[in-house]
Structure formats: C-alpha cells, structure tokens
C-alpha cells in the first residue's frame, strides 16, 4: 500500500517538473504513477483525465486529488495536493520576494526558449499513445473536436457533455442488442 509520504513525494516531484500547465503533466504521471509505482492502470488514467477535465479547477490539482483519494482516501488526496502545490508556492514566493526581474535574466530566457518546444512535445506525444487502439471514427471525433475548439474557441465543456450523452445513449442501445454478462459486484 502506498504510504502518505510516497504520495506526497511523487506529487512534489511532478509539481517541480511540470512546466506549461496541467497537460504537460501527463507524461510525468504516466512515468511515475503507472510505470514506476503501479498506482493507476492506463485505462484508469484516461478515465481520470476525463473526470479531471469535467470538474472545475486546475487539471494538475484534480489529478493529484484523484490519485491520492484512490490510493489512500481523503488523507491521500490532501497529501497529493500539498505535494503538487508546494514547489509552485515556494518558487513563486521566492521570485516575488527577491527576483522580480527573473524573467528578464538572459540565461533563464535562453533555457525557456529550449523548454517551450519541449513542453509542446510533452503535451502532444501522449495523445499518440492514448489514441492507440481507438477506432478510426473516435479518432476522427477527437480531431474534429480539437479543430473546432482551437479555431472557434467553443467551450470544451459543451463537447464533454455531448460526448457523455452520446456514450450513455450508446450504452442503452447496446443493452437492447446483447443481453450482457450480468452485473458483477455492483449494487
């Protein structure tokens, strides 16, 4: 079983190396939670991302709360949340206190020029892994949604709700077609 400190430490690492927002965290979570610790399966991770996007709040925080809660309940959620927040909090506070001209430092600016395209790659690459094994029409829907959100600035929430409704409709339809394996273990 995961100790609270392990959860805290894993998320501290993730918080310290996530540049460019929540989505850039995806490969870090994969490496740490799925491959190294085995706290999540790949399927759970994708479900988790879907939920994190449907609930308000930063995706990084929502992900931390999900993994923490799943492994160790409310205490685990808190440990993960504190872990992911601390690097941000400390670094920003130091910058605000002592290095307000941080962003004009030429070395920082150069490092950041190197990191920006890397972050885009870290956001884009997991999409390839997630789309593996998906049917072509689901990939087409994903591409369509991406282009519409990107070009027209439509709220992503509408797409998530439509997706959920279509999915539920589909589950009723297939229920009629094949009487399935029975309700295992659920109330």
């Amino acid at each position: 079983m995961a100790s609270l400190f392990d959860i805290f430490w894993s998320f501290l690492k993730i918080g310290a190396f996530t540049f460019g927002g929540g989505y850039a965290m995806i490969p870090l979570i994969e490496a740490e939670m799925i491959q190294k610790r085995g706290w999540l399966t790949r399927e759970e991770f994708i479900n988790q991302l879907t939920i994190a996007q449907s609930v308000p709040g930063p995706i990084a925080l929502n992900t931390a709360v999900f993994v923490g809660y799943k492994t160790r309940g409310a205490k685990g959620a808190l440990a993960a949340l504190v872990g992911v927040v601390i690097p941000s909090f400390v670094i920003i506070l130091l910058i605000a206190l002592y290095f307000t001209d941080f962003k004009d430092n030429p070395t920082v600016a150069a490092a950041f020029k190197g990191m920006r395209p890397a972050v885009v790659a870290l956001i884009a690459a997991p999409i390839i892994n997630m789309a593996r094994g998906m049917s072509w029409w689901k990939i087409a829907v994903a591409l369509g949604a991406a282009v519409v959100i990107w070009l027209l600035g439509v709220s992503p929430i509408a797409f998530i709700i439509i997706g959920a409704l279509v999915g539920i409709g589909w589950s009723f339809r297939s229920e009629g077609a094949t009487k399935d394996k029975g309700k295992e273990g659920e109330r």
């Binding site: 395209p117 829907v141 991406a146």
Partner: protein, 173 residues
Amino acid sequence: MIYLQLFLSYLKIGFFGFGGGYAMISLIYNEIVVQHGWLTAAEMADVAAISQMTPGPIAINCATYVGYSVTGTALGSLVATLAVCLPSLTLMMLATKFYLKLHNNKHFAGAMEGMKPMMIGLILSSALMLFGPETFIDWKSWLIFGACFVASVKRVNPILLIVLSAVAGIALY
C-alpha cells in the same frame, strides 16, 4: 479585509475554472484586473509569463504571485493559493468517490467512453494553441520539439527531457 476579498476571488476562480490553466487565465484576468484593479494589465501579463516559466500548475503560480503582490505579505500568497485549491479538493474528491462506486456500471462506463475522444480532442486543441511563433522561433525550436516528441512517444523520462531542453536552450541561444 483584503485577505477575505482575495480568498473569495480565488475561490471563484477555482470554482469556475474549467479546462485547466490556460483557459483559467482569462478568468483570472477578469477577476484581478477588471473587477478589483489589484494589478494593471501589464503586471498581469508579467504574472502570466512568470507563471508559465516556473514549474507547477499555472493557476497556483498565479495565485501565489498575485496574493503576494496585492498584500505585500506571504500570508496573502497562502490565502490565495488555499482558496484556489479548495474547490478542486472538495469537488474532485466527490467526483472520485462517485467514479470508484460507479465505474463498473454500464451506462456510466458508456458516458466515460463517449467523453474520451472529446478529452483527447481537448488536449490536442491545447497543443495546437501552443504552436505559435513565440514557441517556434527558428529551426532549433523545431529540432528540440521533434527530438522530445519522439523521445516522449518512446516513453523517455519526461523530467530528463525538460532538463535537457533547458540545457539545450542555454547552449543554443
């Protein structure tokens, strides 16, 4: 009093911020610059730049920075950061509980399955938004992007990639 206002503002940002950091920046802008006038538009642009250049969730970085600039104390940072975390903590815990109860339910699984392509599309759209001239300044940026993309698909450790790209940036620019 300022602390209470700060707390309420960031609570609001946490509650209504869907779709992650970049989507939240406009909400933060509206609350901090337009509604309260705590920062000027130029200062807010600096905060956004610093938030993106430092590790961690953009919303947290921004809350910590604005909390300090508005009050001049670390307590202000703490109050704003706490406020922006609270909605995530409570709502996401509820959602997780709900998910763990229901994930074997056929219709719930159907909803998740339907949301999945949308979720992937959403991530793709935010990757597309980052394909701007300020990220891709020359062929060297494309080289770094290409190398990191291939390495990341092959599951090379992302922390290593971030560190190497920073070193490459310092060496190349």
